[in-house]
Amino acid sequence: MNCITRREFLKRSIFLMSLSFLSNKLFSFEKEMEKELSTEIPYSPEEDVLIPSTCAMCVNFCGIRVRRVDGVIRAIYGNPESPYNKGHLCPKGQAGIFHTYNPYRIKAPLKRTNPKKGINEDPLWKEITWEEAFEEIVSKLKEVKEKDPRGLSFHWSHGKYLLGDQYTKAFCKAFGTPNGIHRTTVCEAARHVADEITWGYHGILPDLDYTKYFINMGANFAEAEQWARWLDRTLMRRIYDEKDLKMVVVEPRLSNSAAKANEWVPIRPGKDVLFLLAMAKELIKNNFIDREFLINYTNAPFLVGGDQKVLKDEKGNPLVWDEIKNKALPYDEAEKISLDKEVIIDGKKYKTSFNLFKDYVLSLREKEIEEETGIPYETIKKIALEFGKNARIGEFIEIEGQKLRYRPVAIYTFRGMIANENGAQAWRLGLILNMLVGSINAVGGLLIHKADPEHKNRKPSKCEYPPSRVDLQESVFFPYATHNVAQQCAYTYQNPEKYGLPYKPQMAIFYATNRILSTSEIEKQFEGYKNLYSVNINIVLDETSQFADIVLPDKTYLEDFHFSPTRWTPDSEHKAIRQEIVNAYNIPYGIFEILWELAKRLGILDKYIEELNKEWKLKEKKFEVGKDYTSKEATAIIWEDTTGKPFEYALKHGLLAKTLDVKKRYLEDLSKFEGKGKPKINFYAEQLVFTKEKVFEIMDKNENVKKVFMEWFEEDENNIKKILEIKFSPLPLKEHSFPTPHKKRDSKEYPFYLITYKRMYRNQTDAHALNPVLNEVAKDSSSNFVLINSKIAKKMGIKDGDEVYVESKIGKVKGKAKLTEGIRPDTVAISYHYGRFAKSFPEYAKKGVLPNFIIEYHPDIISGEDSFNDTKVKIYKA
């Protein structure tokens, strides 16, 4: 080593010190000293520890180990003990260091001094003490509570996954407001609702360890998705190491996921329903039908009349056709059940629901499908036949000594196919196709999870009117929206009478959510939130906080204890916690303490504690009235009650994993629907017919309701019922491939389809735009682009890097063009979390373009899903 000795160094130091007064640039003299000596000083920190915890940078909740060196977060590694991510970790999870060490964080409570609220208004924040903040918030809350507690809305998004929505829901209950609002309708709610309508809960996973043919309708696990850290490693292993799985990705843009597929099918945006209907046609024509599954587990054999209702006996039992007795009998009494039958009973025609579906898909014209989807019919047919053959209908496999149904095919989606006006119907069809070949909970098929045949979405909706909630969930407007309707609140705040809301919204609390930014037509969101008094609890001053009256800082997920949510896989589940690793800005209260303090000062603490015990379903260990808790103590209670293990175990390991056996993996959920005496999976969703009747009844009595529908779907009075008939169809229809803008916009004026997609560097948490590591790890991580097909761009004279306008009916945005061969010529794609405009953000965090300004709002009436992929646009050089 050729470095100077200590003596030499000291000599030089003295010389330098003598010069020091000459220069004020002496600055880090000590630092220089250290550097010169750097090779002599051994690595000798006072502390170098690995603390197990759980990531919250997105919703995969990967197990992490946080390396703390001398009190500083030095690195974040994956936790190999996690059955979910097995040590793997995405860039975002690793960049959590700078999520916490972020100088743009809110460090003290702030109060607005500029009473005017708007996108261009600077709130002119003034720092106030915690005491002042609590006092003002509590006095406002008391005012609202006295007037009408329903006047409070509590919005959370990522907050659900930080503190846990059990806390926020309990707070709402204790306060007396029904308005706790989460964000799933800007993501995948329609899929969940379709699952609930069909089999009574939400959450599906393909059984990839065994799947051989996997059709992925635009679920982009490689760039951003829930379950991504399990999907990516499992798919790559199955496709490339074991060469035992074929993945077909159906989506308009060649995403990173499609880039890894064996086959990319570039479908025209929104036409997935037509694609799957055509697949169904080919499966039926070629007899790739699992009759036994359909008869034993689904209502496909139920007889349906011309009124779309299931034929029932006087006791209300659904009837099927018995082939031996040649008559309609209750399902439980029939000996040999017909699947595919049309009969006349008492002069009326009845068809089994399978037969209805069959006749419908067989009637579809190949040419129309080919023209609308933009995919050669031969390709769809080939995929259908490959899917059908690989389904191995009738085969069994033995695992762990159990003989199990073996159907190694699955159709899967996440947001890709469903973030649109007919999202719930689209995924209903996805489920129906899985049912046709019997792949539901078969080995290698599509696994359903925690099925509940009694789920409320398997029944006619209560269709509330007047609505009880500001998001209109489960009201006549969104009868099956069970995952809240995030984007609707702003419209209701602006004009509660329009929706018949029986009270006036007064105040909102936002916790870890940038609600304003993450929806369609965001300028309308500003208008909605402008006149509400609001409190915002977050780690940075985002766009939504710009509309707040008081802002409170939160701790980050590396600074607080939480009982973390986790993700299951087909063979595992686990419980996990988060730990306080550091407190970068010495923030005294985290969200747990904030809510506790508010409840206490409002005089609702006892009720809050009671509701907490209920929400967390605590049995042995509970929160006790009269006691105060820290977030660590609270986490310990929940951990110990849920796992039965001492909290020390959690502190040491971060998680407790369990392996799932074949019974849990394949049999438990499906057995709830198996054979006689059991309810059935809804191949046919009859409840939608009853719900539609209720909707019509309310609509006929309330002109305002009808007007809302007419506005959403741009239909006149004479047509609106016809449109709603289609929306509430018990079986998916080709019309579900035609959202409002596809029908109403002149294709010459707006020739392009606009689609949005996620990028892992940004989605889920709005502080990511500020994260310097995330901003530089990939080419498009600091800014996004308008993706345009190269040949089309060339024809239009647009070059790579040119500024272009993307214009829809409601406005235009400017972005940088990126030319690619990996997109359909009729489609432009923009990821939807760039182009930030919060006043407090530095320029580097504002790069890119935000398409949400020009995305038209035509919600899915079934699920409340926002319409992120339906807008038609024109593009031109800026």
Binding site: I97, D232, M236
Partner: protein
Amino acid sequence: MARYGLVIDLRKCIGCSSCVAACKLENMVQKGNWWNYVIEYEEGEYPNVKRIFVPMNCMHCENPPCMKACPEKAIYKNDYGVVLIDYSKCKGRRYCIAACPYGVIHYISKEKTFYDNHETPYEKLPIKAKHPLHRKKAGIVEKCTLCWHRIEGALKENKKPGSDYDSTPACVPVCPAGARYFGDLDDPDSTVSKLIREYKAKRLKEEFGTKPQVYYIF
């Protein structure tokens, strides 16, 4: 003596840059510099188009042109085949950068913080809390060390490098797609040796005679 190297399965790489972040944070590589980067390109025409992601880091060549080019003899190859830079010898002449056919050596022109005009606690860690390989300064060059501090740590503990998460280069176990492998190229039974044989894994720009120790499965 073992000879360590990497195998990167390009078929499996999903282009997420997880390895990039892991490398950057583990090795305290400053803003704007890279020890590891993912190159991305398209091949073909719509609809028959492919997107390819190629992670690039120091190839730890058996015959490293950077080493030969360095006038200060600051670049050396250790007993395990890992090419390292002696920061105390480097004078920042950058001949190595010109000589490297892979573009994976970076010059530190000036010290930069991740946030402008703000040093985070991570960046303020005292020198004794940084491994010597992570103590860098302006005016020298830097590149991938194959996380030598991890390998060395394992060897000190008599652990086989690569046998667990913490004795493997940071870019490997973190990869969400399981596309990266680390191991002993001299051991015919190691995973890397087996993969190289099975898939006839290739090295980049072999025509330069550099004999990289990073192999790619195409």
